[in-house]
């Protein structure tokens, strides 16, 4: 920005901690066109001061030197399309955490001001979006979750296209006559009202339905997806704004449960097969004398499904209740490990126990053997009845869990890439390597569902147990593909009532994405961000790091490997900016150049002044809030450290570290969110990528014969404020021990 005003707040101890007399001079020297200070900048008077200066002096950049950027956001709000704003944190990072009127404190404050002014000078205004957005919601899969999603999106005024692989809508619930209770008094099975929902969806004027159809391809980006559906009679082409994948789950493959007698005796069936029997008129004669239900058949089992499907216990209750109602003479027994009927279903559990005389017994079922005649023998251990128990039955029902019908987009892509290498046949070792990858992934062949034209693969990446969601506690619908949301048993095991809610929720997200796109705004987690990245492609070397490392598959590649940016897929995390060795990727208010200019603005004292300088690159999502918390408690830390907030540790370009060290800065510490299986990174891979990149930085340090301790990466949780001073002080101490950067003064 070229017309920048610096507004200095002297309230909240800032004025008492630093000498503000020469700040105006500093501001003017560093290019500010306007300077003002105020004892309470967030007051009405202070805000008016800012607005008047914008109007009278035509400012397009505001440097607000006051509290943390997380405070008083409403008061300091500006139109981001017209005015760029930079917050310089003099309260939490200076006045509250350092010795007042101290030389080091003053130098810290002045450096932060210079850094803020340097950065805003480089900032640019985001251009208002001009994209044409289609409001259609595409729902893939017409089970209960998909049907509810279609109803909900249509109800919110959006055209809907519903694509179902089967000839009939309804999915798994077509097999089911009744459901577990959903309404008080929760004591008996609930009628399956699927037919009513199907009828409503089929009659809905704005829901277009393709049955017996599959997605042939989805190209483009949210708001503008080009969808091709393969129907029985041909192809249908249309545009869609957002996608809900509700492809459901399938029962765990019971053929793998031969130890439980499945496949060995026709009298051992799965709970799903029992549903079929019940909806087709009940048990066949001669009726079994005793039916034993075995819970967790292939679930909570290292050899099969490790997780619990959460609904099988309640389904068994329903089956026992139904069986008892139609055939009271049949004796029922349930063998379980932990009986899981959470919430109000406890009432159902109590009712079934009371009314049916069913025996519930806890234990681990080891085997089901077929005896002579029509009998089955169940062996159980660790039971309440004794260490080894055997029980005879005429029929066994295996309560099997559910497996999501997802496709592993990343694995399919690996497979495709391996095949390309095999076909190129460039070198024997390469082909051999590629063949190994092909063999590893071959079972994914033909599993494609969405057929996305994304460089990172034709379907969403999956996480643990093949569920395609990305933040299942706080943001359960989020996935790693923008504008594509997972719903129902695809994203987590759940019962019908939950899948129904899930359809509604996913529709909310899809509609939201379309609304955001219409206004050129990013979706979660930087919802409302109007900036997009720019790529200076003349300097691109086709290294493909940006396309590979984007957690959201934002970039495709052309034939030469040049990235093709799809702004509506972009979450603005800046991980591509961190990845790019040519430094050609920029956001209007976050660029390699703008942060580099901040680093350049730091005054680096001569070696003999014995004042080391260190930079802390802190993730704005967790580390900066933790720092604000520490500051709120007036914790203190080393004043030689200059803090630069970053969008994500993945949005750190290693050139900043090289720049810092070559300028004589003695060390760089990076603090970001937790990585690993239970990652806390809001961009999934940011902190993990940062760690990988830092190994390369360590190699650079070795080459420059600089000590490896000068660059450190740490992980921190949002609530670990106490670790901020610990980490910063320990780092400063290490740097003091290592000694001054030999490049100082070069």
């Amino acid at each position: 920005m070229d017309k920048v005003g610096l507004f200095l707040c002297t309230g909240c101890e800032i004025g008492a901690a630093i000498n503000t007399e020469n700040i105006e001079e500093l501001a003017k020297e560093r290019g500010a066109k306007f300077f003002a200070n105020h004892p309470c900048l967030c007051s009405e008077e202070g805000i008016n001061l800012i607005h008047n200066a914008v109007e009278n002096d035509g400012l397009n950049g505001l440097c607000i030197a006051a509290c943390s950027h997380r405070e008083k956001t409403e008061e300091f709000r500006v139109n981001p399309l017209k005015i760029s704003m930079e917050r310089v944190c003099l309260r939490e990072q200076v006045a509250w955490t350092h010795k007042p009127n101290d030389e080091d404190t003053q130098m810290l404050a002045e450096d932060l001001l210079k850094m803020g002014l340097a950065r805003i000078a480089k900032n640019e205004l985001p251009a208002a979006s001009q994209e044409t957005i289609d409001r259609t919601v595409l729902v893939v899969g017409a089970g209960l979750a998909g049907l509810q999603a279609a109803r909900a999106a249509a109800g919110m005024g959006h055209p809907v296209v519903l694509v179902e692989k089967q000839a009939k809508l309804g999915g798994y619930l077509n097999r089911v006559k009744t459901l577990v209770p959903e309404k008080p008094p929760y004591d008996s099975p609930h009628p399956n009202n699927l037919a009513d929902i199907v009828a409503e969806v089929e009659d809905h004027k704005t829901i277009k339905i393709f049955k017996g159809s599959k997605i042939k391809s989805i190209q483009g980006q949210p708001g503008q997806f080009d969808v091709v559906v393969q129907t029985a009679s041909g192809e249908e082409n249309f545009k869609a704004g957002a996608v809900i994948q509700a492809t459901g789950a399938k029962p765990y493959d019971a053929d793998k449960l031969s130890h439980l007698g499945y496949g060995k005796s026709p009298r051992v069936i799965t709970s799903h097969e029992l549903e079929d029997l019940m909806s087709q008129g009940g048990l066949k004669t001669p009726l079994p004398g005793r039916v034993v239900f075995i819970q967790c058949a292939g679930s909570r089992d290292e050899k099969h499904l490790r997780y619990c499907s959460g609904e099988c216990c309640a389904t068994t209750l329903k089956q026992v209740a139904t069986l008892h109602a139609s055939h009271p003479q049949v004796e029922c027994a349930v063998m379980y490990r932990d009986f899981r009927a959470p919430g109000q279903l406890e009432h159902f559990y109590a009712s079934v126990q009371e009314k049916t005389g069913c025996m519930f017994t806890r234990g681990e079922v080891e085997s089901v053997e077929t005896l002579d005649g029509d009998k089955l023998r169940i062996q159980m251990q660790n039971s309440l009845l004794g260490e080894q128990v055997s029980l005879e039955a005429d029929m066994v029902v295996l309560a099997t869990g559910m497996v999501p019908v997802s496709a592993d987009g990343e694995a399919i892509r690996e497979l495709q890439d391996a095949r390309v290498r095999i076909n190129k046949n460039e070198s024997a070792t390469q082909v051999e390597e590629a063949k190994k990858i092909e063999a590893k992934n071959i079972h994914h062949e033909g599993t494609e569902i969405l057929n996305l034209h994304y460089r990172q693969g034709p379907d969403m990446p999956v996480l643990s147990y093949s569920f395609p969601d990305s933040h299942y506690i706080c943001f359960p619908y989020e996935t790693r593909r923008t504008g594509i949301y997972a719903a129902g048993t695809l994203r987590a095991p759940m019962d019908a009532a939950q899948a129904s809610e899930d359809g509604w929720g996913a529709a909310m997200k899809a509609v939201q994405c379309i609304e955001a796109n219409t206004h050129g705004m990013a979706v979660h987690p930087r919802a409302g961000d109007t900036s997009i990245a720019s790529f200076f492609l003349q300097r691109c070397t086709q290294c493909k790091r940006c396309t590979e490392e984007c957690p959201f598959g934002t970039l495709n590649e052309d034939k030469k490997g040049t990235p093709e940016y799809f702004p509506l897929r972009c979450r603005r995390c800046g991980i591509c900016l961190g990845a790019c060795p040519e430094r050609i990727i920029s956001f209007p208010e976050y660029s390699v150049d703008s942060v580099a200019s901040m680093i350049k603005a730091i005054e680096v004292p001569e070696e003999d002044e014995e004042k080391p300088r260190m930079i802390a690159l802190l993730c704005e999502n967790d580390a900066i809030p933790a720092l604000d918390q520490a500051a709120g408690r007036r914790m203190q830390w080393n004043p030689w450290i200059r803090i630069i907030p970053v969008r994500c540790l993945g949005a750190v370009n290693t050139v900043w570290i090289a720049d810092s060290l070559s300028r004589g800065i003695d060390g760089v510490i990076l603090i970001g969110c937790k990585s690993g299986d239970d990652y806390q990174c809001h961009y999934i891979r940011g902190s993990e990528l940062a760690k990988t990149r830092m190994t390369n930085v360590q190699e650079t340090l070795d080459r420059l014969t600089l000590e490896s301790e000068r660059v450190q990466v740490h992980e921190l949780s949002h609530n670990e404020f106490h670790r901020i001073p610990e980490l910063l002080d320990a780092f400063a101490e290490t740097i003091e021990q290592v000694g001054p950067n030999p490049y100082k003064g070069f």
């Binding site: 309230g11 909240c12 967030c42 007051s43 509290c67 409403e74 909900a152 109800g155 005024g157 309404k183 008080p184 008094p185 909570r300 490790r306 997780y307 619990c308 499907s309 959460g310 932990d338 899981r340 959470p342 919430g343 109000q344 406890e346 009432h347 806890r362 309440l384 299942y472 506690i473 706080c474 943001f475 359960p476 987590a492 095991p493 939950q498 809610e501 899930d502 359809g503 509604w504 929720g505 909310m508 997200k509 509609v511 939201q512 609304e515 219409t518 987690p525 919802a527 409302g528 999502n621 967790d622 918390q629 709120g632 408690r633 969110c673 949780s717 949002h718 609530n719 670990e720 404020f721």
Partner: protein
């Protein structure tokens, strides 16, 4: 666009469910009013140390939600506000919102000067009354809006004068009055959450009498850095770290004399808290007494993790009584697997108590249909929907799911509106 679309949606309660419902609808272009009776949003989740099963801090997700609220001009958040009157009509609801006096208003910069001079101390509701805080304070350190509160009734005039005198920002208004506004809203989402089942009802378990018998909510506060012990797990009786910790599952749950239902989260909460104890006190022994370990879905990972931890035992058994004996606690347990009564020692007992929906005794103004346990049901005809634990006992992930769904239902009830 229909006529009702001009009226905002009302979300009552700003815990994780209410915050989610409000922000999800607002980001889809709807005007939303989000009410909270406490001075800060975040409800119960921000009082917890970690979420299961990932063992991550609740404030991390809340940080993003707060940013979303701050960036979104379509949400109006009213704290310390309740619905005092409501009547349904064809367009939605007419509601009267009553806001408690804001003795410290939004001029507040959270500078802390008033807190320094305030000598009156009050029990800290965020810490379940386990510690004292100044009457003028930030409700808790992560509070949003970041605006101080003043417990005026607790303060002598001298303190009130000092607090008013310390403020340089014209934020203290000792004469503030309750305010009331009546407005039309097009649909309502009720997400008023829950409270823990009262410990004092569990007399057979020593609750309320034995100071080292605590609730799971209390345990969370012991683990939180901002809690009464600065994050140290200590016995309330003597301030020493416990060596033997017992978790009693279904304390007052799945029990017709108390709560007849299962709250669905207490098993996981105890497993999570077992990790707090084991990580902090390496020599500790943890025993979990349970009826059924209920860890559905991917939560099973946490059960496996804790079951595999050294120093953790799980016993299927119902704890019938807890008594004191020589400065320690004695538990009488029916060990179901061994088929006998056993006695076990512990020096700290955590009762895994369940959730009681606030709706049970509250929110009568909306006349919502409820089940026998006090959980609410949607009433689409009246354009009112329930979310989170108002609807059923459930964990955070499920609350977020249901709240997002409730937002969609409210938007549909409001009618198609379109456009930010």
């Amino acid at each position: 666009m229909n006529a009702t679309a001009k009226h905002p949606l009302l979300v009552v309660g700003a815990g994780i469910a209410g915050v989610t419902a409000a922000i999800e609808a607002a980001e889809a272009g709807r005007e939303v009013i989000l009410l909270e009776s406490e001075p800060s949003i975040g409800g119960r989740v921000v009082r917890n140390f970690q979420y299961f099963p990932k063992l991550c801090p609740p404030t991390c997700g809340m940080e993003i939600n707060i940013k979303r609220i701050e960036r979104n001009p379509r949400i109006r958040v009213l704290t310390q506000t309740q619905v005092t009157k409501a009547s349904a009509d064809a367009q939605g609801w007419q509601v009267t919102l009553t806001r408690k006096p804001q003795y410290i208003n939004d001029n507040c910069t959270a500078c802390g000067e008033c807190e320094k001079v305030c000598t009156t101390k009050v029990p800290d509701p965020v810490n379940l009354g386990l510690s004292q805080v100044p009457a003028a304070r930030l409700y808790h350190k992560d509070a949003w809006p970041k605006q101080y509160v003043l417990d005026k009734a607790a303060c002598p005039q001298s303190d009130l004068d000092a607090v008013a005198g310390a403020c340089k920002y014209n934020a203290v208004d000792l004469n503030a009055q309750p305010t009331e506004e009546t407005l039309a809203v097009s649909a309502v989402v009720v997400a008023t959450g829950w409270k823990p089942y009262p410990l004092q009802n569990l007399t057979n378990l020593g609750a309320g009498k034995l100071s080292d018998v605590i609730s799971n909510a209390h345990m969370e506060r012991l683990a939180v850095k901002a809690g009464p012990t600065a994050g140290k797990i200590l016995r309330p009786s003597d301030g020493q770290p416990p060596k033997k910790v017992a978790f009693v599952q279904c304390a007052g749950s799945r029990d017709v004399n108390h709560l007849p239902y299962c709250s669905g989260v207490c098993c996981l909460a105890s497993l999570k808290q077992a990790t707090y104890v084991r990580e902090q006190i390496p020599e500790s022994e943890v025993t979990i007494y349970y009826i059924d370990r209920r860890t559905p879905g991917r939560n099973e990972d946490l059960l496996l993790k804790v079951a595999g931890m050294e120093g953790v035992k799980m016993i299927k058994g119902k704890v019938g009584a807890i008594e004191t004996q020589n400065n320690s606690l004695k538990l009488k347990v029916e060990d179901v697997e061994a088929g006998k009564l056993i006695e076990a020692d512990a020096d700290l007992v955590v009762l895994a108590t369940g959730m009681v929906p606030n709706l049970k005794d509250d929110m009568k103004v909306f006349d919502l249909p409820k089940d026998s346990d006090g959980f609410g049901l949607d009433n689409p005809d009246k354009k009112i929907f329930v979310a989170g634990v108002t609807r059923r006992p459930e964990d955070v992930a499920a609350s977020v799911r249901d709240a997002t769904g409730a937002a969609a239902k409210a938007c549909v009830a409001q009618g198609s509106q379109g456009g930010l």
